[in-house]
C-alpha cells in the first residue's frame, strides 16, 4: 500500500514500523505533526505524550531506552538547545533500546526566531545524524536510525527541514516489527560520574571512527553519476533542488548521513568530476569537512548561508540561467499574519499599548502583539525569556521600571520554562508583574493539549497544573485571574499590580477563539447611522473590522462575536 504523506507523517509511520513503544515531545513548528501522527496509532503498541518541554521529552525517551524499548522524541531546532544537556551525555551512556531524536530545522524562518543549523549539535554531541530528502526517505531513515542506534550503541538524530517535514510525497507502507531488550543494571555504562565518563569518552571517539567507516559504504550515502563536468555534494532538501536544477548535466553525491561524514567516498567522487560544488543550506559543514580532507570545492563563496535554496537559485548560481515572469505595476500590500478575530490576547495588548509599558515578550501566537497596530512588545528571545528577562531588566534599572514593565507569556510556554524565571523573581525579588496569557491550549503550533489544560495528547482527562497555586507556591503572594475580554477589568488589574510594592502574576484566562469547544456568538453589525467614523474600533487591530465608504464595517465571515470592539465604541454603533 502506498499513499501521499507529509514528511512528518512518514517519520511517525517509520516509528510505528520500527516497533517504537515510547514517544515524548514538545510541539514546535515544523516538527509538531510527527508526534500528532504518532498519537493516532494504538497507544498500547506505541504510546505518545506531550512533555512540558524538550529537555523532559528527551530525558523521558532516554529512560524508555534504558528500559530496553525503542524510544523517540521530536522537537524544532531551538528545542534541541533545550534538550542538548541530556543529549550530550546520552551520547556517552549509549542506549539499550534504540533511541532516536528528530529535530526539524526551519530554513527560511517560516515560523522561528532564528535559523540555526542543528548539524552543529550532532558534531558537538558526537552523535550520528541522518537527513532524509523526501517522505519516503523520512520513513526509511527513521527505521534505519534504530538499527544504527542499537548497532553502534548511540542516540541517533534525524534531521528534517521545514521543506521536508511539510512536503507530501509517496510512501510505501510495511508492517510493524517488535524489538525489545531486557533491562540489566549497568552502572559503568549508565551512571555518568567522572570515573565512568572518562572511559566512556574513549568509547565515543572509537565509535565515531567506526561510524565514519560505516558512512563510507552505507546506503544512506548515494552516488548518482551522469555528466562529470559538474559534481555536486549535497544533502536534504538541497539535493532535490540541485537534481531539478541540473538534471543529468551533473553528477551527485547525496549524503543521507550528515554526521559523521565519509572521507574516501567524498575523495573518490571528487576525483571523478571536473568542477566540484558543495550545495548545503545554512552552515558550511560539508564544505569545511571537504577542506579538512584536502579538497577545494566551490561552496559558500557562491551560495548563501541564509534561508532556503531552490532550483531557480541554483540554476542561476551554477548555470547563470534565470526564469522569465510577469508582474503588475501596482504595489501589492503585504499580508502579514495577524491575531485572529476573537483572539483573547487582543484586549491585553491593546491595554498594554494604551498604558505605554515595557513589554517583555515570549514565543507563541501572542508574539503577534508586536505587530501593527498594537505594537505592544519590546523584546522576544526564546521560550521563557519574557519572565527571566523582565527580572534582569528591572534589577538593572534599579527598580525604576517596576511600575511600568510587564512580561507576557502563554500557558504552555510558562510551563515549558517560564516557571523557573518566576522562581527567580520571587527568590531574588524584583517587583515584577508577569501576565500569563492562559488560552487553555498550545496555540501557535496548532492546538496541542498541555499540562495546564487538563487533557493529555489523546484528549483524555489528565492532571491540570493549578497555575494560581503554583505561583503562590513559588513565593508570589499577589496572584489574580482576570477575563481579558473585559477591557476595563484588564486595565484596572494591570494598573493595580504595577503599582503594588510586590511581585505579581495576572492570569488572563480566556480560551483560544479557534477551539472547537468555544461557542461563538453571531457576527456583530455596525449601525452606519450611529457610526461617527472615529476609528476607535480600528485600534484593536481586528481583521474583521475595516472602514468601508467612511464607516466601520464588520466582515461576517470572520467575526466571532467576541464583543471587544463594542467596548471601544462610545456611540453604541456596534451591535449584536
Amino acid at each position: 500500500m502506498a499513499g501521499l504523506m507529509l514528511g512528518n507523517q512518514a517519520v511517525a509511520r517509520g516509528l510505528y514500523e520500527a516497533g517504537v513503544e515510547f514517544v515524548s515531545s514538545y510541539p514546535g513548528t515544523p516538527s509538531t505533526e510527527i508526534t500528532e501522527f504518532a498519537s493516532t496509532y494504538d497507544k498500547n503498541e506505541m504510546y505518545s505524550e506531550w512533555a512540558p518541554n524538550e529537555k523532559v521529552a528527551c530525558e523521558a525517551a532516554i529512560g524508555a531506552s534504558f528500559a530496553g524499548r525503542r524510544s523517540f522524541c521530536a522537537m524544532k531546532h531551538v528545542g534541541l538547545n533545550v534538550a542538548a544537556d541530556p543529549l550530550y551525555t546520552a551520547s556517552y551512556t549509549g542506549v539499550n533500546g534504540g533511541f532516536v531524536l528528530a529535530v526539524a530545522d526551519d530554513q527560511g524562518m517560516h515560523s522561528s526566531q532564528n535559523e540555526q543549523d542543528s548539524r552543529n549539535h550532532a558534531i558537538g554531541s558526537k552523535v550520528p545524524m541522518l537527513e532524509p530528502s523526501d517522505s519516503g526517505e523520512c520513513k526509511e531513515f527513521t527505521k534505519l536510525a534504530y538499527e544504527i542506534s542499537e548497532q553502534f550503541d548511540t542516540p541517533v538524530i534525524l534531521r528534517l527541514s521545514t521543506r521536508v517535514a511539510h512536503s507530501q510525497s509517496i510512501v510505501e507502507l510495511e508492517d510493524r516489527k517488535t524489538v525489545r531488550y531486557d533491562y540489566t543494571k549497568n552502572p559503568r555504562k549508565n551512571i555518568m560520574t567522572p570515573a565512568n565518563a572518562k572511559p566512556k569518552h574513549i568509547v565515543v571517539e572509537e565509535r565515531t571512527k567506526k561510524l565514519v567507516e560505516y558512512a563510507e559504504t552505507s546506503p544512506l550515502n548515494r552516488v548518482e553519476m551522469f555528466d562529470t563536468e559538474i559534481g555536486i555534494i549535497t544533502n536534504g532538501a538541497a539535493y532535490q533542488y540541485a537534481r531539478e536544477a541540473l538534471g543529468e548535466k551533473a553528477s551527485y553525491l547525496k549524503l543521507g548521513m550528515v554526521n559523521p561524514l565519509p572521507v574516501k567516498l567524498i575523495k573518490d567522487f571528487a576525483a571523478k568530476v571536473k568542477k566540484l560544488y558543495v550545495v548545503e543550506e545554512l552552515d558550511d559543514i560539508i564544505e569545511t569537512h571537504c577542506r579538512k580532507i584536502g579538497l577545494d570545492p566551490i561552496g559558500k563563496e557562491l551560495f548563501t548561508f541564509i534561508g532556503e535554496y531552490s532550483q531557480t537559485y541554483l540554476r542561476e548560481k551554477i548555470l547563470g540561467v534565470k526564469n522569465e515572469y510577469e508582474q503588475l505595476d501596482d504595489v501589492i500590500p503585504i499580508r502579514p499574519p495577524v491575531m485572529c478575530a476573537g483572539c483573547p490576547h487582543r484586549g491585553v495588548f491593546y491595554t498594554l499599548k494604551k498604558l505605554g509599558v515595557f513589554v517583555s515578550g515570549d514565543i507563541g501566537c501572542y508574539t503577534l502583539g508586536s505587530a501593527a497596530p498594537l505594537e505592544a512588545m519590546d523584546t522576544t528571545v526564546c521560550m521563557g525569556a519574557s519572565v527571566s528577562g523582565l527580572h534582569g531588566f528591572n534589577k538593572a534599572m534599579r527598580g525604576e521600571y517596576e511600575g511600568k514593565a510587564v512580561a507576557v507569556i502563554g500557558d504552555s510556554t510558562f510551563i515549558h520554562s517560564g516557571i523557573t524565571g518566576l522562581i527567580n523573581i520571587a527568590y531574588n525579588r524584583t517587583n515584577s508583574t508577569v501576565l500569563i496569557l492562559d488560552n487553555s491550549i498550545t496555540g501557535m503550533t496548532g492546538h496541542q493539549n498541555n499540562p495546564a489544560n487538563g487533557k493529555n495528547i489523546y484528549g483524555d482527562p489528565a492532571a491540570a497544573v493549578d497555575l494560581e497555586a503554583l505561583c503562590h507556591a513559588v513565593g508570589i503572594d499577589r496572584v489574580r485571574v482576570i477575563n481579558p475580554g473585559d477591557l476595563a477589568e484588564t486595565e484596572a488589574a494591570i494598573k493595580e499590580e504595577l503599582a503594588a510594592d510586590a511581585p505579581s502574576v495576572i492570569i488572563c484566562r480566556k480560551p483560544c477563539a479557534l477551539l472547537k469547544t468555544v461557542k461563538h456568538k453571531p457576527p456583530f453589525k455596525v449601525d452606519r447611522d450611529k457610526c461617527k467614523s472615529c476609528k476607535a474600533c480600528m485600534k484593536i487591530g481586528c481583521p474583521a473590522i475595516s472602514m468601508v465608504d467612511g464607516k466601520a464595517q464588520i466582515d461576517n465571515t470572520l467575526c466571532v462575536g467576541c464583543g471587544l470592539c463594542t467596548q471601544m465604541c462610545r456611540f453604541g454603533a456596534i451591535q449584536e
Partner: protein, 191 residues
Amino acid sequence: MAETKAIMLVGVGGQGTLLASRILGNVLLSAGYDVKVSEVHGMSQRGGSVVTYIKYGDKIFSPVIEKGEADIIISFEELEAARWLPYLKKGGKIITNSQQINPMPVIMGVQEYPGSLTEKIRAKGVDITAIDALTLAEKAGSSRAVNVVLMGLISKTAGFPEEAWQKALDECVPKKAIEINKKAFALGREA
C-alpha cells in the same frame, strides 16, 4: 515521459488551502503520477498570505515552485492572485475567487487595496478566470467551503475523471461536512 506540471494554491491563512491541496494530491496520486505537495504551517497561518505547491509528473524532485514555473495558479482571494502572478509560467492559467479580504495595512488605512486587479492581470495577456466562490459556498451551506468550490471549478479543466474527485472528497473531507462540500464541489464544477 510526462512533463512535470506545477499548480499553486494561494490564499489567506484560514481559507482552507490545506484541505484543497489534499484533495488535489489525492486525485493526482490515483491518476498514477509521482506527486509532491508542499505547504507551510505555523506562524503564516494566522491570517497571513499562504501558498501550497503541487507538482506532478513521472518523477518529481523539488517540491517548491519558483517564479515563472506554475502552469496553474488557483487563488482564493483577488489580491493574492496579483501577489503570486510572477510565479505563473508564460502561457499559464489563473483561476481566482473574486472575494477581497483586506490585509492589515489596508485595514489600518496605511495602504489601499489596488482596484481592477483581475482586469490588469488579463491586460498582461494572462488567461485568468474569476468566479464568486464565496457566494457559491454560501449557497452550498457554508462560507468555509470556498476551497471546495474552487476544486470543483478546477476539476473541469484539470482533466481527471469525476469519480476520482468524488473519491478524493470522501477521503479528505471530514464526514460531518461531506454533504455541504459535495454541494460546493458541484456548484464550482457548474460555474
